[in-house]
Amino acid sequence: MISIRQSAGYLIVAAIAAGTLSDRPQTRNPVNLGGYRVLAADFHVHTFPLSASTLAPWDLIFEARRQGLDAMAITGHNQTLAGRVGEWFARHTDGPIVLVGEEIHAPQYHMIAVGIRNTISWRLGAASAIDEVHRQGGVAIAAHPVEQFWPAFDADALRKLDATEVLQPAAYSSETARLQLEEFYNRRRFTAIGSSDYHGPGPLGLCRTYVFAREASAEGIVDALRDGRTVVFNGNRAYGDPALIPVARENRRLIEPAAETSGRAFGAVLSRVCGVLGLLLLICSGFPD
């Protein structure tokens, strides 16, 4: 008769086998629309350690490929070390384009700096922080700018700000938050950004930005963000460059990112069912004394 501990072991082995075999990166052919290379990007990604996230930069490089992302910005809280590690790793593993970034986590505002090299102090005011981002050749994005952060963005900061997260998980948490993100975005023609604000739970690239770049490179992405060449989809809603939205709508892959094939989806379901059951049994049965 199989003991409870043996059952737990078999279930976990089955979970690992099904999960590992069904774990493959998405094969994505390059998307070219309107004379641009369209890149799927997530510009707000945290890593372990130091930034309240669960996975290390090198693990997220492979996870980004599985989620069909062409680019991402690794944005440590008040540090750029994680971004530099991720960029180095991606360069040596044929990974997606990784931009060095930082979430400037200040008391009055949170701001994503993308395409920078050195850490920017959270002690700077919003306008001064944006100046520093620009001095380093980067782009400044307001992170989840719900109402509580609006006072930090005075007229000077709003004039200098490049982009804003119009879609991120906060938009799903309440209709009020979604409308506040939209209202901030509509203050002037900011570049529209969709970001997952990845901290571990939930998929990387849940919210994503389609960047219309002249070239598939970090420089090409930063140029596109400066010029406002992005489109973000939230169901039937679309934000971004009015000229590019209809172009993007023509490509169904941008509106509905490719789902996993049925075989891989089955493997994932099998893995999570066996994994959860196996772990629960293993924790309760523990070790014999």
Binding site: I4, I12, A15, I16, A18, G19, T20, S22, D23, F48, P49, L50, S51, A52, T54, L55, A56, W58, D59, F62, E63, R66, G76, H77, N78, Q79, E103, H105, A106, P107, W122, P169, A170, Y172, S173, S174, G200, P201, G202, P203, L204, L206, G267, A268, S271, R272, C274, G275, V276, L279, L280, L282, I283, C284, S285, G286, F287, P288, D289
Partner: protein
């Protein structure tokens, strides 16, 4: 002795007050393995949970590295246990082993949390109110705290005051270290801004 004695972890989880005294009398052998087996289980649960939360499956690609770097959590727990000077007769290995029997509420809570992210679409989960997270978290903390209190009373033989002090001190040392590794760079800003540094 309870039939639960066949499953000491479950026994400690459900009835720590009656489980720890007989377990303390058992002379378990194993040296390093005795000390490492339950902390390793905690690290493996953490690694598998991280994989489930992000990819909806247990894949070696994520579970193995996450197990390795998340092993800092049980390591901090052991270090805090040593720092508090919690050693029972029978040696540190057995003390660690008995201490980690109390980890089941945290592990079950973590697997439940990971299962939720694995089975429910993320866009639905984000619509749930934050109290959905706080209430189970507080319940697990209280449950685990009670088991650890029984550990200090029954295994270490502490007085009521010593047990509370040992529990709080071990938690303070361990949780401060874990928080520092997990969220130091934003956490420092929050602390510095509050204190005007």
């Amino acid at each position: 002795m309870s039939r639960l004695a066949l499953f000491p972890d479950a026994w400690v989880m459900l009835a720590p007050g009656s489980a720890y005294p007989p377990l303390t009398q058992t002379a378990a052998r194993g040296g390093w393995w005795l000390m490492l087996r339950r902390p390793l289980l905690v690290a493996c649960v953490l690694g598998c949970a991280m994989s489930l939360m992000t990819s909806g499956r247990v894949t070696l690609r994520l579970a193995v590295p996450a197990t390795i770097y998340w092993s800092f959590v049980p390591l901090f727990e052991i270090a805090a246990l040593a720092a508090v000077g919690t050693i029972k007769r029978g040696g540190f290995s057995r003390t660690v082993d008995l201490f980690f029997m109390s980890h089941a509420p945290w592990s079950l809570g973590l697997v439940g949390y990971a299962a939720m992210w694995a089975f429910v679409p993320a866009v639905h989960i984000f619509t749930w109110t934050t109290s959905v997270w706080y209430l189970p978290g507080l319940a697990v903390a209280a449950w685990s705290g009670y088991i650890d209190f029984c550990f200090y009373r029954s295994v270490i033989g502490s007085s009521l005051f010593q047990a509370i002090r040992g529990l709080l001190l071990q938690r303070l040392i361990c949780w401060t270290g874990v928080a520092a590794v997990f969220l130091a760079s934003a956490g420092w800003q929050v602390v510095a801004a509050r204190l005007g540094l």
